[in-house]
Symmetry: D2
C-alpha cells in the first residue's frame, strides 16, 4: 500500500456559544453541508467533496474552543496497532476507547491527550455518504453549492506547551513528517511545527505556547486564489469578523484568508501549496523571518493572529 | 509511516528525433530545468519544484516514444521486497536490475515489463539537488522561471493490450488504488484505468489498445487555470503543435491542455483535480459518456487524441 | 464631454423558436435577469450590472436570428442630429421612427437598415432600474447571482454583403473607430471589421458574407478567465450545445467560449481584451493568419464557427 | 465621435530622491519599459500596452511627490478650445503653454493649477512608439515582460483643499463624470470624488485634505486578480515597502495592492472594476461606511493609507 496508517484529518469538534448562529455561519457563509444532529444536540457538517458523513461537529458550550480533532486511519488493524504503540511510547495520556456510535455513523475511536494538552482521536470507520454526485458518470461539482464551498476540511493549527513531545508523538509513532518548522533564539528552539501524513504540506500544525490545549484555527481547502477572493467578499457580505487576508503564507505557500465564527473560533480557507513527499527536505524558518514565514506579503505579524486563541 | 511503498512517478525516459529541437522545447516552452547530459548523450531535466536531480530524460533515437517510466519507492528495503513480490506475482516479465549510476545520480533500478508491454522501473535513491531556493527562509518560487514552468512531472498515460494484467500488478502488488475507470459494452469491459499511489487523482493511467507498449502522454502539473491559459498562449507564441485545450476533464476534474513535442510525443500540462484517499470510492464512466469523461466541455472525442500515440 | 454621441450597444432583439426553452436558457444558464413581458409576448432581460431596464429582448418566431440591434446615444439632441446625418449620408435605408413605448420603458427609436442588411436602432432614453444594489453604500455584487452572470451585454457579430458600406456608415457617420480588421487576397479586401465607440475593443463587428442580414452571435462580458471556465462547466451541466472554447481570440485578445441557445442563436461569453482609445492604431490581420486571429490557440478555423449563422 | 475631448491620463511626472533606485523600481519591479532620458536627466517610461512614447516621467529632486499629471485630448482644436474654456471658468490659475519638445516626443502642453493646488496638463500630441508587437498579425502580448507588467498607467489619487473647485472644473469644463463620491458629516460634505472621462470607473480622484497639492498614488492596471497576487509576491521578493493588499475596494470594486517606490511615492496596481458610462448613476458612500468603501474586506481604514502622502 502506498498510503497507509494515518490517512487524514477526519473531524474536529468545536464548542460554540450559540448553536443557531453557528449553524448559519458554517452552512451559509462557509458553505458546509449539515448532515445530522445527534441526541446530545451536536450538529454535524461535511465539506461537499468529502465522502465521509461529517468532518465538523459543533457542540454548544459556555466557552469556545476545540474539544478534539480526529484522524482516520486505514483500517481497524492499524487502529489496534497504533493504540499499542501510543501507549508504549509514553507520550500520550488519558487513552480511552470511545464506543462506536457515540459519534454518529462513526466506529470506535481511540482518544488520547498529546503533550501539548490536546485531545486527539484515531478511528478507522465512518460511513460514506458521498459528495452529492453519483459514482457513475458524475459532473465535476454538484449543483447548488453555497457560500465559500471548500472541498474539504484540511487541518488544524493548535497551540500548547510541550511542543517537543507532541512532535515526537506525531513523527515517531503516528508516521507524520515535519514539512516545515520555525526555530527561534540562539538555541534554535523549535516554536512551530507543520506536520503531514500525506501529499499536503500540512495535516496538523502546532505552535509552542505557555498554555496547554489552545485552538488557533480549523482550515478548509478551496480550489484557487479566485475562490479566496470570493471568500473575502462573502466575509464582508455577511459582516463576518475578518482576521487577515487575502494574503499568502511563506510557510506552505498557501493563499489564505482568516476569519472568526460567531463564537470567536478562528476559521481559515486557503488554496495552493506544494505537493509534499516524505523525502522532501524539511524547510526551516528563523524567528527573524517569522513575519514573512507567516504572512509572505506583509512580512510582519499581527498581534491578533499570534495571540487570539480559543 | 503514512506514505509508504511506491511514492511517486519519478522519471520518464522519452525518445526524440532531434535532440537540439527537443532541448529547446522542454527547456524554453515547457520550462523544465536542464540538469545534466550523460556519456550516452541523454539529456536530463527536472521541473522546478522537484528536489530530485531529474524527472525527464531524453534520448535521441529514430522513433519517438517512451523507453520507460520509473517510480520512486520509500527505501531500499521496499525496493528489495517489491522485487520479490513482482517476481512472485508472475505479472511482470524481463525483470532486471540496472546498476546504480547507469542513470546519472540515481541508485539501482529494478526494471520489468508490465502486461501492457511497458517498461516500468522502481528505484529508491536519486540525489537531491533542490528547487533553486534555500531550505532556510525560502521565497515561494525561484526567480527567472521561464515558459510554462510546471512544478512537477505528474503522470503518464500509456496504451497497451493486457489492461487487466497491468491493473492487477499495480493494484495488488504495487499498492496503487483505482481512482477512476472507463467501462465499455454490454460486458462492462474496463477500457481505461486511472491509478494513484498518493493524494493525486492519478499517478499513472492505462488505456486498452490493440498494440503493446504505446505512449500517449507525459503530464506536468501547473498551479491553476490561469497558468493553463499562459501555457496555451506559449504554445501559440512558439508555434507548438496543439492537440486540444484549454479544457477540463470529467475524469479527475483537471483543467488541461495537450500539445506535441517536436518529435510527436504528446505532453500535457494541467491543474486542479480532487484530493484522493485510498478509501475514496472508485468512479466509473461508461462508454456512452466517454466524450464527457475525457473532455468535459466538448463532450465528444477527438480522433487525434484517441489514436495518435508514439 | 469625454464620452459623447453613440454610447453603447443597448439592446438586441432575437427571434427564438420556443419561448419557454429560451427563457430557461437566458435566465438559468446565461443568468440574465428577466425584467418584463410585453403585450406582444416579447420577454425582456438585462445583465445584472446594467442599470437600464433591458438589453436582450426575445420574440417567438418561426425562424431564429436577430430582428435588430440598438445603440444608446447620449441624448435626444444627438439622436435628432444623427437622424439627419444618417439620412444625408445615403448609406442607410428604411429610416423610421419607432414611437416611445413600443419597446417597454424605452423612448423613441430611430431604426434604419445598414448596407449589410441589418436593422440598427438608435435611442436616447430607457428607464434606469438599477443593478440590484443601492446607489448608497452598495456591496460589490448582488446576492443570488445564478448561471454565468455576465455583467453586461457587450456586442454582436453580424454577417452581410456590403461590408464597405456598413463600415463607412459606422465610422464616418456614427463616430465608431476601426479597432481591428481582417483583409484577404492580393487586393487586401477587408473581410472583417471590429468597430468600437468606447474603450472596449469592439461594440459591434461585421463579417463580409454573400447573404444580407445574418446574425453570428450576441456577446456578454464576464469578469475573468475563471468565469469562462465556470461558463464552460455550466454549458455541460445544462447540456447546452457548445460551439468552441474555452479559448482566446487573437483579435481583441479576449478569453472566450461560444455556445447556442435552444433555437440555434449563437451566444458568447468572454473576458479580457485591451483598453481601446480612438488614437490607438488599427490592427490588421491577413487571411493567411486568420486561424490565429480568430482562435489564438487552435490557429485554425472551425467550419461551424465560420458558416453557421441565423 | 463617440470618445471626444479629454481622452485619458497620459502622463504623470514624479519626483524621486535617488534616480538609480527609482529606475530599478519602476523597470524591474513594476515592469515599465524605459523609453528615454532627456537633457535634464528626466527618465521616461511606458507601460507595455500603451502605444504612446511615455506615461511616467521621473525627475530627481530633494523631495518626493508629483510635479504634474497630464491628460491627452483628442486633437489640437480641442486643446485650444479647452484653453479658452478653462481660462473663462476662473477655476484654474497659472495657465501656461509649455512648448512642444520640452517633454520628449510630446507636443505643446497647456498647464494650469487646479483649486486643490495640483498642476494639471492637457496635450494633443505625443509620438506613437507601439507596444512591442507589429500592427499586422500581432501576438497577444510581447515576449520578455518582466515584473508586474501592468498594461497601462491608469489614474492618480490626489489630496488637496478646495475639492469643490476641482470637481467643478473637471466635471463642468473638462467633461468628466462623477462615478463615485464619499460624503461626511451632517451636511454630507463631499470628501472624495472619483472622476472618469471614459468607460473606466476612474481616471483621476481627489480627496479633501487641509494641504494643497499632495500626491497619494499613481495607479497602473493589471489583467486580473492572479496578477495582483503575482505583484504581491514580487513586492516581497524585492523587499518593496508594502502599504496594503491584496484586497478589494468597495469603491470601483477594483482588486488592488499598494506599495511605495524607494522615495516614498505610493504606487497601486489593480485589476477589475465595472464599465462606466456617462449615464450610470453616481454611487455615494457615507463616512460611517468609509472603511468598507476603501477596503471592502477589512472594513476599516489604515492610518498610513489615509495620511501618508508626498
Amino acid at each position: 500500500m502506498a498510503m497507509t496508517g494515518v490517512l487524514r484529518p477526519g473531524h474536529v469538534q468545536l464548542r460554540v456559544l450559540d448553536m443557531a448562529a453557528a449553524i448559519k455561519h458554517y452552512s451559509t457563509v462557509l458553505g458546509l453541508w449539515q448532515t445530522a444532529t445527534d441526541a446530545e444536540g451536536r450538529v454535524y457538517f461535511k465539506a461537499w467533496d468529502e465522502h465521509d458523513h461529517h468532518s465538523v461537529v459543533l457542540r454548544e458550550a459556555d466557552e469556545a474552543g476545540m474539544d478534539f480533532m480526529g484522524f482516520r486511519v486505514d483500517g481497524v488493524a492499524t487502529l489496534k496497532r497504533l493504540a499499542v504503540e501510543i501507549e508504549a511510547s509514553g507520550l500520550a495520556g488519558a487513552l480511552q476507547w470511545i464506543p462506536a456510535g457515540e459519534m454518529l455513523r462513526t466506529g470506535e475511536r481511540l482518544r488520547f491527550t498529546v503533550p501539548t494538552g490536546h485531545a486527539i482521536e484515531l478511528y478507522a470507520e465512518k460511513d460514506k455518504v458521498g459528495n452529492g454526485m453519483p459514482l457513475e458518470n458524475p459532473e465535476v461539482y454538484p449543483d447548488n453549492l453555497k457560500g465559500m464551498s471548500p472541498t474539504r476540511f484540511d487541518h488544524c493549527l493548535l497551540y500548547g506547551d510541550d511542543l517537543d513531545g507532541t512532535v515526537k508523538l506525531f513523527t515517531e509513532v503516528l508516521g507524520f513528517k515535519l514539512a516545515e518548522q520555525v526555530v527561534a533564539g540562539p538555541d534554535q528552539l523549535q516554536i512551530a511545527a507543520f506536520l503531514t501524513c500525506s501529499n499536503k504540506p500540512h495535516d496538523v500544525a502546532f505552535i509552542r505556547h505557555p498554555e496547554k490545549n489552545k485552538f488557533h484555527h480549523a482550515s478548509f481547502i478551496l480550489d484557487n486564489w479566485g475562490e479566496v477572493l470570493k471568500a473575502a467578499d462573502l466575509i464582508t457580505r455577511h459582516r463576518v469578523s475578518l482576521d487577515i487576508g487575502p494574503t499568502r503564507h511563506g510557510i506552505t505557500r498557501g493563499e489564505t484568508i482568516y476569519f472568526f465564527d460567531p463564537s470567536g473560533n478562528r476559521n481559515e480557507v486557503f488554496s495552493g501549496g506544494y505537493i509534499h513527499y516524505p523525502d522532501r527536505p524539511t524547510l526551516t524558518w528563523t524567528d527573524n523571518e517569522l513575519g514573512r514565514a507567516i504572512f509572505y506579503h506583509d512580512r510582519k505579524l499581527n498581534e491578533n493572529f499570534l495571540n487570539v486563541v480559543t
